[in-house]
Structure formats: structure tokens, C-alpha cells
């Protein structure tokens, strides 16, 4: 349902993505790892249109993303949810108000647009928001101000907000980087629940795979703007992690691990 085709991107003369291709099927649960600067966030932000590729295309459910047309971009973003490292919530507003903002994309015509621009939501939306808050385990905190919640709770609110969009695809940009290990596990478990119970495709960017190996089936590893591993997490050998993350004094340009990528039919091959 997601198809990334040979995208390239440079910032200030530095090539951040060097012709990356990726295919993700419906309801897959994917982890994306790599060093800072390897291009993970840039690639993911291309999917919901915040970064425009210099070359190549990105398609969601067969529809290529048109970066130049703001209306089409809006339509594409409606069904793509995103959660962030710093949660990106409106701190002064209540939990439920934050979750309701997830419905804004759907309220884009006539009366709906007018009422949501004033801040009025119909009762069904509010009840739906409450259901989602219950789903993420925050049913009793609907009317509390978000700045009173802990980090883990805030991320749950963010997940509820994303679910409010009824997304096909959920992107998670380093969602646990600011959380302690125990809370991180809970959040990843929640994301797994989202993927299994609701069938939503989930792509999660992580800094470290070690502690969370059991949660994921498929891992995509990026290094210096290209995908250097794409496959089952069980096949990922521990010593390859060094190559993915690299050590500071290593001068080696040559990668020591075999490139294993899955082509569009899902069959593994050596590139």
C-alpha cells in the first residue's frame, strides 16, 4: 500500500537520500532503524508531504503523492497518521480537544468545515474520541489538560489523535526516544495492538533495535541515504548492527553485510 520509488533528496548540497526504494504491504508492522542523519526521518516525512523529493515518487494505495497541489496533499494526509518524538500536542488544551483535532481532516466541506473552524464538533465525534481514549487506556483522563500528563500518557493521546483520522497508515517518528524503557515497551505494545486489532499499517522509526527486537517482524535499516537491510528481524545478525550504526573511528566505506532486499513480489533477493 506504500510504494517509494527511487527517491532522492539533497539538503544544502548534501545528499541525504540517494535513490531509495521501498514497498510496504497492507497491515505490515515495520521498524526503521539507522544512525542520525541516515535519512530515516527525511524518507518518512516524504510520505506525508513535509519533504518534497528531488527525484522519484511516493504512492499511497496506488495514488502518487502530488507535492505541488495543496488540495491533493490535504486529501492524501487525511488517511495518514503521524506521531512524534516530542508528542506535538497542544499543551494548554484538554486531552479530548487534542484527540478531536484528528477529525479535522475529515471535516473539510461546507458546514463541517465552518463548525470545526469555530471549534464545534458533533456529539458522535466526541463519543468516538472517548472510545479511542479508552482504547489507548486513558478513558478517565479525557478532560484533563495535556500538560499534566506524563510522557507515556501524552504519546497515547497522540496515538488516539492519529487514530481519530481512521488512517490506513500510521507513521511514528522516534515515538519512544523521550520515554523510559518501561514506558517505551508499553507504547510499542500499544502500536502493535493498533496494527493487529485495527489492521493499520505501521512504520516506526527507532534509534535502537536491541531492546525492542521482539515487537517487530520486518526491519528496514538505513545507512547514509540508502537502505542497507530490509527483511525479517530474525535474520538480522547482531554484528551487522555495528555496520548499521557504525563506530566513530571506522574509516571503512565498504559494507560488510550482504544486501538483502525484498522486491515488489515479496521474494527475498541479494541486490
Amino acid at each position: 500500500m506504500l510504494r517509494v520509488d527511487k527517491v532522492k533528496k539533497s539538503f544544502n548540497g548534501r545528499e541525504v537520500l540517494k535513490g531509495v526504494s521501498l514497498n510496504v504491504k497492507e497491515s505490515e508492522y515495520v521498524a526503521m532503524i539507522g544512525r542520525s542523519g541516515s535519512g530515516k526521518t527525511t524518507l518518512v516525512r516524504m510520505i506525508n508531504g513535509f519533504v518534497v523529493p528531488d527525484a522519484g515518487t511516493v504512492s499511497v494505495k496506488g495514488v502518487p503523492i502530488n507535492y505541488r497541489n495543496s488540495e491533493e496533499l490535504r486529501q492524501a494526509r487525511k488517511r495518514i497518521g503521524m506521531i512524534y518524538q516530542l508528542f506535538n500536542l497542544v499543551d494548554r488544551s484538554t486531552t479530548i480537544d487534542n484527540v478531536l483535532t484528528g477529525a479535522l481532516g475529515r471535516k473539510d466541506r461546507g458546514f463541517d468545515l465552518l463548525s470545526s473552524s469555530i471549534g464545534i464538533f458533533p456529539r458522535e465525534e466526541k463519543e468516538k474520541a472517548l472510545e479511542l481514549l479508552k482504547f489507548v487506556g486513558l478513558g478517565e483522563r479525557a478532560y484533563q489538560r495535556v500538560d499534566r500528563l506524563s510522557g507515556g500518557e501524552k504519546q497515547r493521546v497522540a496515538i488516539a489523535r492519529a487514530l481519530m483520522q481512521e488512517p490506513h497508515l500510521l507513521l511514528a517518528d522516534e515515538p519512544i526516544a523521550n520515554l523510559d524503557p518501561k514506558t517505551s515497551k508499553k507504547i510499542l505494545d500499544l502500536l502493535r495492538k493498533v496494527n493487529e486489532d485495527k489492521g493499520i499499517t505501521v512504520i516506526t522509526i527507532l534509534h535502537h533495535l536491541e531492546s525492542v527486537k521482539d515487537s517487530f517482524d520486518r526491519v528496514v535499516a538505513m545507512k547514509e541515504g540508502t537502505i542497507c537491510y530490509d527483511g525479517n528481524i530474525k535474520d538480522l545478525q547482531p554484528n551487522w548492527m555495528n555496520d548499521i550504526y557504525g563506530t566513530e573511528d571506522e574509516e571503512k566505506e565498504v559494507m560488510t553485510l550482504p544486501r538483502i532486499t525484498a522486491n515488489s513480489t515479496g521474494r527475498k533477493q541479494i541486490a
Binding site: 492524501a76 506535538n88 470545526s116 471549534g119 463519543e127 472517548l130 479508552k134 478517565e140 497522540a158 483520522q165
Partner: protein
């Protein structure tokens, strides 16, 4: 498969609705007050449309500006600047010790603390023009009453600023010095003063800016400077001279405003008074001070010092007359005070309505068009700098006497202040939730309502209240030039020497302003 929300949350949902009803109720009450204020101040669509026409006619009569009287006006501008500088210097000298006496951590005793606080609040509440009126009666017309009036209000403002700065210092160096046996003045000199010097300087620069603007106004009650000439030329319908004077005032005020803002920004950001060039900066300050004093001595060499001495005698006589109050004009006071408040409300509301789109257009993170954003900023700065009284004089000439002129003057001046403030608030928001909401497919209007608005709402409201509070205070004197409100009653009673009535009017003004001040401070605390 979907679970219904728990009963408790449904109850909370309904409670949320009750809160909404309460908010709507408050909004309706406020709306009624605003409509009433428009009514009292004669603000209606007809007057507004005619107003444009009259303003244009007046502008036509004011073109081209007269150049013959330029030398006279320039010397008056010098006098104005001198008044502003002198009152600032005097004000600083007195406010420095006052600030220490008023600060909780340095006051030498609760009696002193409370007495100085009361005195300073009293100085601050009455507008400087009122003080000037009093001193004009004692010292005659000329620069001296203006300087004294400005000094009194400077003490009111600056002492409070200084004391707040002293109260918010880091206590650790003070404790450390006390522990080594230091005490009193030496602790102040070595632990407190180094911490507060930058912000004291910043406040002082702000006061200089404010006092030069105030000095322009002093002339309107005969206290010297260019203000007086403005009124004279207005009354003689010499509109071309008026426009020369107005242009000079605008240029003066804008220049001082810019320089002061630039210097203050440098101090706060640490580029001025850096350690590395500290001696250079102090040298500049001292030389600047010497230049100011020399300038004063040269331009004010015609001060009649004899009158200065005898004037204090007259002041005592006046204070004697003040001790009796006459309530002859009490009913008029109340009526006109009400008109003043309504005028301020109407003007502030119009200013808010203008300033909202203005602020959005000037916010650099919303409006990528630099040319539009910056030119709007310049226009706002201009209206911000022009004193409301000057605008009031202009609009009284354009649309006639009465509160309508006052409302326009307040609206334009405050729109400049508020527009700048709104733009700043929008630029300072956290952009992360804005991006997150944009990522859900929300439109521009939805983003503003759900990501930007909740972040700035409390501080915008707090500032709106502050502006309303300030406007009520400043509107009390607009009547002196015919723009409605209690000012006219005040100036008339002074001119006719009905000082017992003047006392009553001043008391009505001061008490009303004090009540509104505390009310506004209370509400603002609860908002944020």
C-alpha cells in the same frame, strides 16, 4: 467491536456542555457592554463612514506643510527633548533609592515598605497631565511644571520597575556576602547592583522614550514645548502649520522609539554591556549623561529660578485649598467618568478587531510575504509612537468634539500596540502541534483555531485587559482637547481656580482607575 465510552466520561461530556453554556453567557454579557459603549460614544456606521470623509478633508487642508515657522518649532522641539531628559534624570535619581525601599528583600522595615508603596502607587495612578495641571497653577506656564509633572509620574513608574527587578534577583550572592559579614549598603553595592544594572538601564531607556513623548503632551496644558504650539495653531485653523508640527512630532517620537528599542534589545541580548566592551559602554553612558546635562543648561538658560522658589509656596497654598472638597460637580464627574470608560471600551474593542488580522498578517511564520509584513510593521510602529492626545487633537478637528473623536484616537493608537503584540505572540508559539495538525489534513483556518489559538488565547486576553486598563487611564485626559470624557471638567475647574471641585474630580478619577487596575490585575492572574 467498538466499545462505548464509560458512563463517567459521558457525564463529563455533559459537564463540558455546561461549561460551554457558561462561556456563552459571559460572552453575551460582554457583548451587551460593548454595544452599550458604542452607543454612548456615538460610534455607529454613519459616523464611521462620514468620519473617513471628514478626515480626508482635513488632510487636504493640511497640505502642503508650512516651512516658515520651522526654526521656531525646532527650538520648541529642543525644549521638549530637554524636558524629557531632565525629568528622566530627576526621576532616576529619586527612584533608585525608592526602588530599594519598596522591594521586599531590601526594605528596611514594613512601615517604610508600605508607606513608599502607597506613595508611589498614588504618583502612578494620576496621569502625568494631572500633575502638570497642578504645577502649572503653582509655577505658571513654562517648562518647569512640565518637568515636575513628568518627574512625579516617572517616580511612580520607575520605582515600581526597579523594585520588581530587585525582588527578582538571585539571592545567592546576597546570602554569600551576608555570610562573610557584609551588610547594608555594601551588600547592595556588590551583590545586587551588578545583577540589576542591565535591566535598570533598560527600564531607564524606556522611561526616557516615554518621557519625551509625555513632554510633547505637557505643552497642551501650557507646560512648555511643542505641544502648546500644536494647540495654538489648531485653534487658529492654521492647518498647514499643524501638519508641520505633527510631522516633526512623529519623526521625533519614532526616532527616539527606535533608538531606545535598539539599545534595550542590545542590553537584554547581551550585545551591549558585554564584559569585553564594558568600559567602552560605561564611557558612552557617562558621556551621554554629560551631554544631556550640558544640553539642558544651554537650552533652559531662560528658566526663571526665582519663580521656581516662590512656586513651592504657591503649591503649599494650593494643597491647602485642596483640603476642602466641593461636590458641586459630582454628578457631572460620575457621568463623564462613565463616558470615559465607555469611550475606552469602544476604542479598545475596535482596536482588537483591527489588530487580529493585522497581527496574523505581520506574523513572519504565517505570512511569508516579507514586504507586506514589514510595511505593516512600520505603520503599526508609527501609530504606536504617536501619543493618543495628538491623535485626539487631529480627530477632534476632523469629526468634531465629543467621544467619537476619542474613540478613533484610542482605536488607532491601540491597534498599533496590539497588532505588534499579536504578531509577536503568534511568532513565539510552539510550532510542533501546528505541524502535527497540518499532518492530519487540516485547513489553514482549522490550524489557526486548533493549534495557534489555544496557545495564545490566555496571553492575548491578558494583554487585551491590560490595554483596556491603560486606555481607561489615558482617556481621562483626552477630554482636555475636546475628545469626550472627564478631562474637560478637570481642565475647566483648574482654569477657573475652582480647586475644591478639582480635588473631587481627581479623587473620582484616581479611585476609578485604582479599582479598574486591581480588577484587571486579578482577572489577568486567573487567566494565565
Amino acid at each position: 467491536m467498538s466499545e462505548k465510552a464509560t458512563t463517567r466520561s459521558i457525564v463529563q461530556l455533559d459537564r463540558g456542555n455546561l461549561k460551554r453554556i457558561r462561556d456563552v453567557g459571559i460572552a453575551i454579557i460582554l457583548l451587551v457592554i460593548v454595544v452599550y459603549s458604542f452607543n454612548v460614544s456615538q460610534v455607529d456606521p454613519i459616523n464611521l463612514i462620514n468620519g473617513f470623509g471628514y478626515t480626508w478633508q482635513l488632510l487636504e487642508k493640511m497640505y502642503p506643510p508650512d516651512t516658515v515657522s520651522l526654526p521656531l518649532y525646532l527650538s520648541l522641539i529642543e525644549d521638549t527633548i530637554a524636558m524629557g531628559v531632565a525629568s528622566t534624570i530627576l526621576g532616576v535619581i529619586i527612584s533608585l533609592p525608592m526602588g530599594f525601599l519598596m522591594a521586599r528583600n531590601t526594605a528596611p522595615g514594613t512601615v517604610v515598605y508600605h508607606v513608599t508603596r502607597f506613595l508611589v502607587t498614588f504618583f502612578r495612578t494620576a496621569p502625568s497631565m494631572v500633575w502638570a495641571l497642578i504645577f502649572v497653577v503653582s509655577f505658571g506656564i513654562g517648562a518647569v511644571p512640565g518637568i515636575l509633572g513628568l518627574t512625579i509620574s516617572t517616580i511612580g513608574m520607575l520605582s515600581k520597575f526597579y523594585s520588581e527587578a530587585i525582588e527578582s534577583i538571585d539571592p545567592k550572592p546576597v546570602e554569600a556576602l551576608n555570610a562573610t559579614g557584609g551588610h547594608g549598603l555594601s551588600v547592595i553595592r556588590h551583590a545586587i547592583i551588578p545583577q540589576v544594572t542591565p535591566i535598570f538601564t533598560s527600564y531607564t531607556l524606556y522611561t526616557l522614550d516615554s518621557n519625551i513623548r509625555g513632554a510633547v503632551l505637557m505643552g497642551l496644558v501650557g507646560a512648555g514645548g511643542i505641544g502648546g504650539q500644536l494647540l495654538i495653531q489648531m485653534n487658529r485653523f492654521n492647518y498647514q502649520n499643524v501638519s508641520t508640527i505633527l510631522i516633526m512630532i512623529v519623526v521625533l517620537v519614532a526616532l527616539i522609539n527606535r533608538t531606545s528599542a535598539y539599545l534595550r534589545k542590545g542590553i537584554i541580548e547581551g550585545t551591549i554591556f558585554k564584559d569585553s566592551r564594558r568600559y567602552l559602554d560605561y564611557a558612552i553612558v557617562i558621556i551621554g549623561g554629560v551631554v544631556c546635562v550640558a544640553f539642558l543648561l544651554v537650552t533652559q538658560s531662560d528658566i526663571d529660578w526665582g519663580l521656581f522658589i516662590t512656586g513651592w509656596g504657591k503649591t503649599v497654598w494650593m494643597l491647602g485649598k485642596f483640603s476642602t472638597i466641593s461636590f458641586t460637580y459630582f454628578d457631572s464627574s460620575i457621568d463623564l467618568m462613565k463616558e470615559t470608560i465607555m469611550m475606552a471600551i469602544a476604542g479598545s474593542v475596535i482596536a482588537i478587531i483591527i489588530a487580529i488580522p493585522l497581527g496574523i498578517a505581520m506574523a513572519r511564520n504565517l505570512n511569508k510575504n516579507m514586504i507586506v509584513a514589514n510595511s505593516l510593521r512600520e505603520i503599526c510602529n508609527m501609530f504606536r509612537a504617536i501619543p493618543e492626545m495628538v491623535l485626539a487633537i487631529f480627530f477632534v478637528a476632523a469629526v468634531g468634539m465629543g467621544p467619537f473623536a476619542g474613540v478613533i484616537a484610542i482605536a488607532l493608537h491601540s491597534a498599533g500596540v496590539l497588532g505588534e503584540f499579536y504578531a509577536g505572540a503568534i511568532e513565539n508559539i510552539d510550532s510542533k502541534p501546528v505541524e502535527a495538525i497540518e499532518a492530519t489534513g487540516a485547513s489553514f483556518a482549522q490550524r489557526i483555531r486548533h493549534a495557534i489559538f489555544p496557545q495564545i488565547w490566555p496571553i492575548v486576553n491578558s494583554n487585551n485587559l491590560y490595554i483596556l486598563d491603560r486606555n481607561i487611564r489615558d482617556s481621562t485626559i483626552l477630554g482636555m482637547v475636546g475628545a469626550g470624557g472627564i478631562g474637560i471638567l478637570l481642565s475647566q475647574t483648574f482654569r477657573m481656580f475652582y480647586l475644591e471641585d478639582a480635588v473631587q474630580i481627581i479623587i473620582v478619577m484616581v479611585v476609578t482607575i485604582a479599582i479598574i487596575d486591581s480588577l484587571s490585575a486579578y482577572i489577568r492572574k486567573r487567566l494565565v
